[in-house]
């Protein structure tokens, strides 16, 4: 009995942790497929996290928070697109610049507006957060053995944003492979000249790719600060944006494998949280620092083992300029 309860709870935690990763990774998918490196996911998520928490605290509404979060991320995405697409700047540098800038800007504005040392005020009221949605019959189902438990813990009881993230993956796949937009987007990441010659605007497609990544990072950041937590704290993304990018690379830039990679990362994270302070056979208690470092070490391992065989979109990272 106890054993599988543990597993179900672990999986439920996995889903929650995977949500921001999946949202960011799907955003990154559109950006990278269009040919723009998605290193700015971290900064856009962090900016959204701050904006969402600040707006929610100030207005009392989680929905306004979501709007603010998305708005902030879109602004950052616009900046990135401007630097990378319009001005053909170095995409890695531009993204790192945004990430660093946001890391300082959040606490600066937070301090100025809320005077709490850079944080935003604690969100208490239910309306200010996207709290769990309990599906009908979940309370009753909980008492029953395995299927009921799965329904109660795994399927029901997640924040609205989690369900949104889950629905997003098939949507992304459909858009990418079954629509005109998706065809053009994939084309511009492989051979922007071919797209230009066909009379389609390369600039517009790439802007769209980057803005979509901003939109989805906006949701991801909002989730982090007002659904998974109750406010913004400095550096709260803690590298999740980079993990999302690693998941995308590991998933070979395809929606479902990327989802799988995000779940893998999330599972490791959830497992690590469980293992804190718990003695393991032979090794004993693993120091908390190493447990916290697990996702980062896993990222390195994954990139070491598998990237050699996965090919990114052919034209990625190269600013498009008409040849003379």
């Amino acid at each position: 009995m106890e054993y599988y309860t543990l597993v179900v709870l672990l999986l439920a935690a996995t889903i929650r942790v995977a949500t921001p990763l999946t949202l960011a990774a799907m955003g990154g998918l559109f950006s990278e497929r269009s040919g723009v490196i998605a290193l700015g996911l971290e900064g856009m998520m962090l900016g959204a996290a701050f904006a969402a928490a600040a707006a929610s605290a100030a207005s009392g509404s989680a929905w306004l928070g979501l709007g603010a979060g998305i708005g902030a991320a879109l602004l950052l995405a616009l900046l990135l697109a401007f630097a990378c697409v319009t001005h053909r700047g170095n995409q890695v540098v531009a993204a790192m610049a945004v990430n660093i800038m946001v890391a300082g800007l959040g606490p600066t504005l937070g301090l100025a507006w809320f005077d709490l040392g850079g944080q935003t005020p604690q969100l208490g009221a239910k309306a200010q957060r996207f709290t769990e949605i309990v599906l009908p019959g979940a309370a009753a189902a909980r008492a029953h053995p395995l299927p009921g438990l799965i329904y109660a813990e795994l399927i029901s009881g997640h924040s609205l944003l989690v369900y949104l993230a889950a629905a997003l993956v098939p949507l992304a796949a459909w858009v990418l492979y079954r629509t005109r937009f998706g065809l053009r987007l994939r084309a511009v990441g492989e051979n922007p000249q071919a797209v230009d010659t066909a009379g389609i605007s390369v600039t517009r497609l790439r802007y769209q790719g980057v803005l979509i990544s901003g939109l989805l990072c906006g949701v991801a950041g909002t989730y982090l600060s007002i659904a998974a937590s109750s406010g913004f704290v400095r550096d709260m993304t803690a590298g999740k944006g980079y993990l999302a990018l690693a998941a995308l690379i590991f998933g070979k830039w395809r929606p479902y494998p990327t989802l799988g990679a995000c779940l893998l990362f999330a599972f490791t994270d959830a497992l690590a949280a469980r293992l804190q302070g718990v003695p393991i056979p032979i090794v004993g208690v693993i120091p908390v620092q190493f447990i916290l470092a697990l996702p980062y070490a896993l990222t390195v391992l994954l990139l070491a083992g598998f990237v050699g065989k996965s090919t990114p979109p052919r034209a990625i990272g190269v600013p498009y300029a008409k040849e003379k």
């Binding site: 700047g89 531009a94 610049a97 800038m101 800007l105 959040g106 100025a112 690379i249 390195v300 990139l303």
Partner: protein, 365 residues
Amino acid sequence: MSAAGQPAGRSRWGELILLPTINLVAALLLSGLVIRLIGESPRQALQLMLAGAFGSQEAIGYTLYYATNFIFTGLAVAVAYHAGLFNIGAEGQAYIGGLGVGLVGLVGGNWPFWLVLPAAIVAAAAFGAAWAFIPAWLQARRGSHIVITTIMFNFLASALMTWLLVNILIKPGQQSPETREFGAGAWLPTAQSLLGRIGLTVAASPLNLAFLLALGAAGLVWAIIWHTRWGYALRVTGENPSAALYAGIAPPAVMLLAMLASGALAGGLGLNELMGVQHRISLDFPAGAGFVGIAVALMGRNHPLGICLAAILFGALMQGGSELSFDLPHVTRDMVVVIQGLVILFCGALQNVFRARLRRLGLNL
């Protein structure tokens, strides 16, 4: 299309001085906007910053002390850049390099100075290089994106050092996670004492011998990159790996060596911070210098002279910034980070914005 062009040298001053200055001004203007957004006066902030950074001997000492760290990390980023690699891991490499310095400091507190200093330099370089080795090797051998792996290694360095400082190296009986103080033999002489020996009196400040070591490192980097065949091989690899291969250079080996050198330079930060100022290993002593190094390298156009100048500028920002928070409580170190990000943006990604306009004015850029 062979119009008799201007020789490549003509655009040097534009490249090294004019463009970075304009980019800096743009970054500062935007930062001013942010300052206004949080309800403070940008002009007042700028005045306080300048005064705080250069207003007294002590202030200048602090500015140069900060600059020392940034020269090391800036050189680190620049050397990797010349090989075509973006080393974001200078923060972690400085952290681990400092571990090496700290170990020498803890062990060699009673050694004669002529032994401690070289040992510390070697340790800083070796430990820093070691931390750069795995991401570098993974990029060369497995094609793993070095940007992501170095960022991960920053996090891993933090985890490792925290664990070490809390559990192993901590001074017994103490609460805060730091080691005991180094023996006096392992302290780098301060500027005050060095200048005192030749009869000059200056105010006390953290500025120490490491500043001269940093300048020496900058000179060495300049000489090697532009005046030796290894530097030539490095530059060819960074500009065009195919041409490098054609020229009999092995790009993976060069890239690996460049990253090792980069990590080694980052480790130099430990000499300044640990042996020169803190005299113990403490938590998070790099304090973001690895990232400032990126801004410094980009602003300095990856040239040691530009890097030294940019490092002094950021030292001034750092020192001026911390003075600033006394008078304008809403402007903290975080604001300096914002400025950093904007500088990286303008010098690294948007630099072409102004280039075209300047070209139209007739300047050869």
